[in-house]
């Protein structure tokens, strides 16, 4: 969890307090003595006293503990007032209260001087103590919303600035300015820097967000700092669909020009890898290049959407997300049979085009056998332990299906999002009753929800927290399996979090980066780089009735998807706004299949029949038959998801030295080059070295060699060369090229 550096430091808060104009606080100063929750707690927050590095840590600091960011006001009151009576607060002589003496460093304080006796924070605390350090009565209004003065700022040049004003809305309808009590941070200080008082300044071109936190609320505003306008002219590229309209609108606003459209060769390779998880064949290449029709890209997309490769690709992606992994340890209920059943079910759903919301809903509400049905394995594979522990399961479900990481709220209200501990424990209660019992055969476990199980208990006061959807108000009715209500809420078309999470993951798969990135860290403080795009993608997915192929079709048909990787002067530095295609290393399984296909040597995978495609592989240890060891190493080096967690980062995308070395000297390529007989066949079939080299280029890179490349290679070969070893060297070079290993 990135904790912005602006929050981590306590130093200089005295200065911060001094900078806060008395007017800001004075404006909200109550006529009556300060209230504990309304006035005193915000001081602890603003001054950093209840931060994780200070008294907010799990065990407190120097013998004094506050709840992290103030999630437990009742406990905090008790610790301040009741834990050491007369010491931390001295109502007779308020200035002698340890609380104040420490804050102003009148006695030794590890945190140093937090504010001065002249600061309004000091006055708030002193007045409260002087009033007898009263606790609030039950009717004290709660903060229910926090609003910023503006939601977006655009600056034409660096150096310009503005300030945020933060207003808290209370449950009794009242509002107050809490700018002086809030804390601020910027997501990208190289674009905009913000100070402790919400005043910010543009530092360089780009777009980012600034945030204010007050209480359990984090709210943000977008800040765009435009590059220089001189020499920029919008070229008005044609928009194919809504995606282009939104992306280009944004680019125009940011003074970024999109790259040009990629050529047919690049498109064919890109879309075939993306949709069918393989390289185009030589025949497909020739046929596509010979096709002069203007709609040939559109038709190719439709053709590939119906391919087995598309099914396998998305089966594997979901299987990874769902941590489908067979083991030999029966009590975990993840034996190979269960894993196969799950994989088979996912495949059938992807093949039939089952709406993704129905696909998810069936799993979430699933009961029954883990081997005669696939969906119950949601509760075996995602858990992969002897017993179902509802807390990590709830966190995983949230992360996977909503993109939201709620686990922070197990111990304290989420520091960078809106989720509270109440939200967390109520969500956990959807899973507290999940049980497994033995089935009718030894490998089988049956999943059911035990409705007599108590709901999760709140960490602070052990209150039972009945199952309630995230952000919901009323718990779901007790006495029956609450997962049905969860599945309905989760997968409803109007659940923005769900539809945008799915849409964002699909987008990221095809574009190499999510509109929110990482795709499974959706929070207020990690907003989409193009909110309109994410919203449109989510709405479109819902409009398409959660048809995966439908959204993929829209994305692939967009000009945005078909842009070249080659940048221009304006978009060279853009990594967030999809102004050019992103170079993406092939997934480990797709790369291995590509090697298999071009060399004609099938892969061997542990416990799978020879000839299984890597993209159809899912790890399942059935005791090990000694086969496929080299593929295991390949997968490891190229970062195939080990499926140990639901995190999207389990699949490694970055290139490494080990990968380059694996291809250069490893078994995977070395043993395949000659044994497949591809080169020998070409040498026998093709009349000229040119023809052989061209075929090898098309086979591996989906393009003809450039004249320079051809010339160099022919010079190497000599006229009429027929030595297969020579062409094997060329073949080896092509397969070791960056161009082969990347989708571009």
């Amino acid at each position: 969890m990135p904790h912005p550096s602006t929050l981590s430091s306590l130093r200089g808060l005295a200065l911060a307090a001094a900078l806060v104009g008395p007017g800001l606080v004075a404006a909200s100063e109550p006529a009556e003595p300060p209230g504990f929750r309304r006035d005193v707690m915000p001081v602890f927050f603003r001054a950093g006293c209840n931060a994780g590095t200070c008294h907010g840590s799990a065990r407190g600091k120097d013998g004094f503990m506050l709840s992290l960011f103030g999630y437990d006001p009742k406990g905090d009151y008790s610790r301040i007032v009741e834990q050491m009576p007369g010491r931390r607060v001295n109502t007779a002589v308020p200035e002698k209260s340890l609380l104040l003496l420490k804050a102003v460093a009148a006695v030794p304080h590890t945190g140093g001087k937090v504010f001065t006796p002249a600061s309004p924070f000091y006055k708030t605390l002193r007045d409260w103590i002087a009033a007898g350090a009263p606790d609030d009565d039950a009717s004290v209004p709660e903060t229910v919303d926090v609003v910023l003065s503006r939601k977006a700022f655009v600056f034409d040049k660096a150096g310009a600035g503005d300030a945020l004003t933060v207003t808290a809305h209370a449950s009794d309808g009242s509002k107050r300015d809490v700018t002086g009590l809030a804390r601020f941070f910027s997501n990208n200080p190289s674009v905009v820097a913000i100070d402790e008082n919400g005043r910010f300044k543009a530092t360089g071109p780009g777009d980012t967000n600034v945030f204010a936190r007050f209480g359990r609320f984090t709210v943000g505003a977008e800040v765009i700092v435009l590059p220089r306008a001189e020499g920029f002219a919008w070229t008005n590229p044609p928009a194919v669909n809504f995606i282009d309209r939104i992306v280009f609108d944004r680019l125009q606003k940011l003074r970024i020009l999109p790259s040009g459209l990629c050529d047919d060769e690049t498109f064919l390779r890109r879309v075939t890898i993306d949709l069918a998880a393989r390289l185009p064949t030589v025949e497909e290449y020739r046929s596509f290049m010979a096709d002069a029709a203007t709609d040939k890209r559109h038709r190719k997309i439709d053709e590939l959407l119906q391919s087995d490769g598309f099914v396998e690709q998305w089966t594997t992606i979901w299987s990874e997300h769902l941590r489908n992994k067979g083991s030999t340890f029966a009590p975990n209920a993840t034996l190979p049979k269960a894993s196969d059943a799950f994989q088979g079910w996912i495949r059938s759903q992807m093949r039939s085009g089952r709406p993704l919301n129905e696909f998810v809903a069936e799993m979430v509400a699933a009961s029954g056998s883990n081997i005669s049905a696939g969906p119950p394995n949601f509760y075996t594979m995602m858990v992969n332990k002897w017993n179902v522990d509802p807390k990590p399961l709830a966190a995983d479900v949230s992360q996977l299906l909503l993109g939201v990481q709620i686990q922070c709220a197990e111990c304290h209200n989420h520091p960078f999002d809106r989720w509270t501990m109440d939200d967390y424990y109520s969500f956990v209660s959807f899973f507290t009753g999940i049980k497994r019992i033995s089935g009718i055969e030894p490998r089988e476990r049956r999943i059911y929800f035990d409705t007599t199980t108590e709901p999760a208990k709140h960490l602070v006061d052990e209150r039972p927290m009945p199952a309630r959807v995230l952000g919901g108000i009323e718990p779901v009715p007790a006495g029956s399996d609450p997962r049905k209500a969860l599945a309905t809420w989760l997968t409803a078309p109007d659940n923005k979090l769900f539809r945008e999470n799915l849409a964002n993951r699909i987008w990221a798969q095809l574009m190499g980066r999510g509109v929110i990135e990482p795709v499974d860290d959706v929070r207020v403080s990690n907003p989409p780089t193009n909110p309109a795009l994410l919203e449109a993608l989510g709405s479109r997915l819902a409009e398409l009735k959660f048809d995966l192929r439908g959204l993929v079709r829209d994305i692939c048909n967009s000009r945005t998807y078909q842009l070249s990787v080659t940048p221009n002067e304006t978009n060279r530095l853009d990594t967030r706004q999809f102004s050019h295609a992103k170079m993406r290393r092939l997934r480990a399984d797709v790369l291995l299949d590509a090697l298999t296909d071009v060399t004609g040597v099938p892969g061997e995978f542990p416990n799978f029949p020879t000839g299984t495609r890597a993209v159809a592989f899912h790890p399942r240890n059935a005791g090990g038959d000694g086969r496929g060891e080299s593929s295991k190493q390949f997968f490891h080096n190229f970062g195939l998801s080990p499926r140990n967690a639901v995190a999207a980062s389990e699949t490694k995308k970055e290139p490494t030295l080990a990968q380059a070395l694996h291809l250069i000297v490893g078994d995977t390529l070395r043993t395949r080059l000659s044994s497949g007989g591809v080169v020998k066949r070409l040498v026998a079939e093709k009349a000229t070295p040119e023809a052989i080299i061209e075929e090898l280029f098309i086979l591996t890179l989906t393009r003809r060699p450039e004249p320079g490349e051809l010339q160099e290679l022919l010079a190497l070969a000599g006229p009429g060369a027929k030595d297969p070893a020579l062409y094997e060297d060329i073949f080896w070079s092509l397969l070791n090229s960056t161009e082969f290993v990347f989708n571009h």
């Binding site: 056998s369 033995s438 009718i440 030894p442 490998r443 049956r446 020879t610």
Partner: protein
């Protein structure tokens, strides 16, 4: 056809992994199926099959016409492991399904093995055929053509690329087509190293264009064995080779890839394959109309005659494989429509219903009397229902107060289901154990509510259940403790009685759920062949295990017989039900549970050739005393030049009596001694003692039950008595170089005559005991040992000193240990 079948069998034989320590008397039986009304050549391979004289089935239907050992005997005939080529004549009315048999040789009765009977003609799979121009049958294009209405005997082979078998079957458009696989259910693979999944097949039915028409992997009815039954589309694409007619293509594959071999049967035709029956049982001896559910052409009803004998039984109907139904000693109650629940007029009753849709709850209102105890048993998964039963019993509200919390149960232990004796490595999961079975004692008079739902909130038109509610009964089953790890251990389970000799087994006595009877009983045998006797026995109250001994006359006919052993109370007024059980786990895996269990309700016994050796053990004339030892002479009588090693042991060890593991008579040896010990808490009084002996063809694996020829001593009476004396001493000390007396007091417990020498044992290093040893006679009150500590004596305290008394009585020496002394050794002053 025949030649291919043999080649299949040989192929399997060749592929059988060699497993160290394996002592299966039968490794495999090939082929696995035969059609009734035909004669089939069957090859049985395994150990100890030389000289096979009889193949004895547990039920009628198959007659064995011939048994021929294969190959020539080696020089040492004891090492001959011939496979047997047999001819099975299967009667036209032979029951379909599994037939269990054992092989009787002159010297042993084999472990159980199985053969399966189908009503359909058997066709062997031909993987590749010249006439078809194919090298395999792995695709629609290369499918093997077969007729409809056959059972294909196929082999899922172990190739690395994974086998696929495809069969082309003619079908009638619009008609029913059924395909059922038997693989797990006909397997005879008793041990696995993760190969179990190799027997788990899945099936798809495709049209000529490769479009899937139906598919199945696992199902509630046949578990791992797939089945499909569907209405054939009115139009089907024609096969690529232009063969006229309508065809479907049945593809059989492994569910989870492994590289092991598995033979299977694939039954194909237009026969009905109901997936559930309603009601799934009825009153014993009555004919009940049963509605068959899950048929693609709509359900149908047919009468089923319930057997007179109560229990679960197999019903074949019009299908080539059977379904399980219940015959019960109670009337049927069928669930009635309506919200209020079904009223049940009287108990006992069998409540039958279907949880037809998700979240449905069926309720039965049942009158119960306060204090009455009922056994409430659910049958659902046990009969192949997809229901995961959740049984709930709710007492009526009394005096306006809330009723007791409802009893909710959704599973049962095996012994609650009256299934005993499966003590393989993992315990064995059985479908029955997923169905609850409880004892319910009514605490109030009135209308109780018995309800049923699916635990996971599911429900389907096939989710049939039956709840049998009846007053508890007393019953004790006799069970042979028959497995060790994954095998049936012959030493413990086999009932082979040598002519003119005897054999003993330790019989487990297992009370049924709700049994209250705990009195004295005896075991009686039913169906013993002439010339064989079960020797009189008397089983103490509450015994869970007891040795019983059979004896065969010298001229008893060499033959096998299926018998029952029953528990009979000594008090003739007591009503006690009894029966026999032998549950043999098949298709096991290490650390796991059996996929398949052969269930037998009778035992097989055989009269064997006279053993070339006998055991003679004289009844001990003296008692063994608590804390004492008793050496019992054992004599081996060798005959006819038999001079092999013979192992012997005391398999039956009464509580508190210990003995050595297997001892051996080496060649030429005929005398030995068995030393027994009694611990201080051994129950007093007479207990049975028996010694068994066996040949040791395969070395030191006696604990397995290895050995081909086995005999038993008579059951002897061993008396456990109080110790003769109790000895005690005060803590004492001795200095290095000092010689002194260590004094012990003597308290007499059991009188003995003469003088018994006493030795002090457990002295520390360097402290010596000088003779003469003290003697104890009837009047001795105190004894003193003469001890001396040398300069090497270990300094410190030793607290393991005890006295060993040797009492000579009735010609035997009985050793007794008593007392615990402490001696400190000090340095010289």
């Amino acid at each position: 056809m025949k030649s291919l079948r043999i080649s299949l069998s040989l192929c399997l034989l060749a592929a059988l992994p060699v497993m160290a320590g394996n002592f299966n008397t039968i490794d495999q039986v090939r082929p696995r199926i035969g059609q009734r009304g035909t004669t089939v050549e069957v090859t049985i391979s395994g150990d100890y099959l030389r000289g096979a004289e009889e193949i004895a089935f547990y039920r009628p239907g198959i007659r064995v016409l011939s048994i021929e050992p294969q190959g020539k005997p080696p020089e040492n005939p004891l090492k001959w492991r011939p496979a047997l080529k047999c001819k099975f004549e299967i009667a036209p009315d032979c029951p379909v399904g599994e037939h269990v048999f054992r092989v009787r040789t002159p010297w042993t009765l084999s472990m159980a093995a199985t053969f399966n009977v189908t009503p359909l003609p058997v066709v062997d799979e031909v993987e590749g055929a010249k006439e078809r121009g194919t090298k395999d049958n792995d695709s629609v294009a290369s499918a093997m053509p077969v007729e409809s209405g056959v059972s294909v005997y196929g082999l899922m082979d172990g190739r690395a690329s994974g086998d696929r078998d495809v069969f082309r079957v003619p079908v009638k458009p619009g008609g029913r087509f059924t395909a059922e696989v038997d693989c797990v259910r006909i397997s005879d693979f008793t041990h696995g190293h993760g190969e179990d999944s190799g027997f788990d097949l899945k099936m798809r039915v495709l049209d000529a264009a490769g479009k899937e028409l139906a598919a199945n992997d696992d199902n509630a009815l046949h578990v791992q064995d797939p089945l499909v039954s569907f209405r054939v589309p009115e139009t089907l694409p024609s096969p690529a080779d232009g063969t006229p007619g309508s065809f479907v293509f049945v593809e059989v594959q492994r569910s989870t890839f492994t590289s092991y071999q598995a033979p299977y049967a694939l039954h194909l035709g237009d026969f009905p394959r109901p997936l559930a029956a309603f009601p799934p049982g009825g009153p014993a001896g009555e004919t009940v109309p049963v509605r068959w559910l899950g048929d693609p052409l709509g359900g149908f009803t047919s009468p089923v005659a319930m057997p007179r004998e109560t229990g679960t039984f197999r019903h074949a109907g019009q299908s080539p494989t059977t379904m399980l139904l219940r015959s019960s000693a109670m009337p049927n109650v069928l669930e009635a429509a309506g919200e209020g629940g079904t009223r049940v007029d009287s108990l006992p009753a069998a409540l039958n219903g279907i949880i037809g849709k998700a979240d449905e709850v069926d309720r039965f209102r049942v009158l119960m009397k306060k204090g009455a105890r009922y056994r409430v048993r659910v049958f659902a998964a046990a009969l192949g229902s997809p229901l995961q039963p959740k049984l709930q019993i709710q007492a009526p509200a009394a005096d306006g107060k809330p009723a007791d919390p409802a009893l909710v149960k959704f599973t049962a232990e095996k012994d609650e289901r009256d299934v005993f004796g499966i003590s393989a490595y993992g315990g064995g999961v059985l479908p029955e154990a997923i169905d609850p079975s409880v004892i319910w004692e009514a605490k109030t008079d009135g209308e109780h509510l018995i309800s049923m739902a699916d635990l996971g909130g599911g429900g389907s038109p096939l989710s049939v259940y039956r709840i049998e509610v009846e007053p508890t009964r007393d019953a004790i089953f006799t069970v042979l403790p028959n497995t060790l790890y994954w095998w049936e251990a012959p030493k413990w389970a086999s009932l082979g009685i040598p002519r003119g000799d005897r054999w003993t087994v330790n019989l487990n006595l297992m009370p049924c759920q709700g049994n209250t009877f705990k009195g004295e009983t005896e075991i009686v045998a039913e169906g013993l062949p002439k010339g064989v006797r079960l020797l009189p026995n008397r089983v103490p109250a509450g015994a869970g295990k007891w040795p019983i001994q059979f004896e065969a006359d010298a001229d008893a006919t060499l033959a096998s017989a299926v018998i029952a052993l029953k528990v009979r109370p000594l008090d003739p007024a007591v009503q006690l039900e009894s029966g026999s059980q032998q549950n043999l786990p098949f298709l096991n895996k290490p650390g796991g549970d059996a996929w398949k269990t052969v269930r037998l309700d009778r035992f097989m016994l055989a009269v064997l050739e006279k053993s070339p050796f006998s055991l003679e053990v004289a009844e001990p004339a003296a008692a063994i005393v608590r804390g004492g030892e008793l050496a019992i002479p054992v004599r081996l009588i060798r005959r006819d030049g038999f001079n092999e090693q013979v192992g012997f042991q005391c398999d039956w060890k009464p509580a508190g009596i210990g003995g050595p593991p297997q001892l051996v008579f080496e060649p030429g040896q005929t005398e030995s001694v068995l030393s027994l010990s009694a611990d201080l808490s051994a129950p007093l009084g007479p207990v049975p003692l028996v010694v068994t002996a066996n040949t040791k063809e395969r070395g030191d694996q006696g604990w397995h039950g290895d050995g081909q020829i086995r005999v038993s001593s008579r059951i002897l009476k061993l008396v456990v008595a109080e110790p003769f004396v109790e000895l005690a001493s005060q803590p004492d000390s001795v200095r290095r170089g000092e010689r002194k007396k260590m004094t012990w007091t003597v308290k007499h417990k059991t009188p003995f005559s003469g003088a018994a020498p006493v030795r002090l044992v457990g002295l520390p290093k360097g402290v010596e005991l000088h003779e003469p040893l003290p003697l104890i006679t009837s009047g001795t009150k105190e004894i003193a040992f003469d001890i001396e500590a040398t300069d090497d004596a270990l300094i410190g305290t030793s607290n393991g000193l005890t006295c060993e008394l040797a009492v000579s009585q009735a010609g035997q020496v009985i050793r007794q240990r008593s007392g615990r002394g402490i001696l400190r050794t000090d340095p010289r002053p």
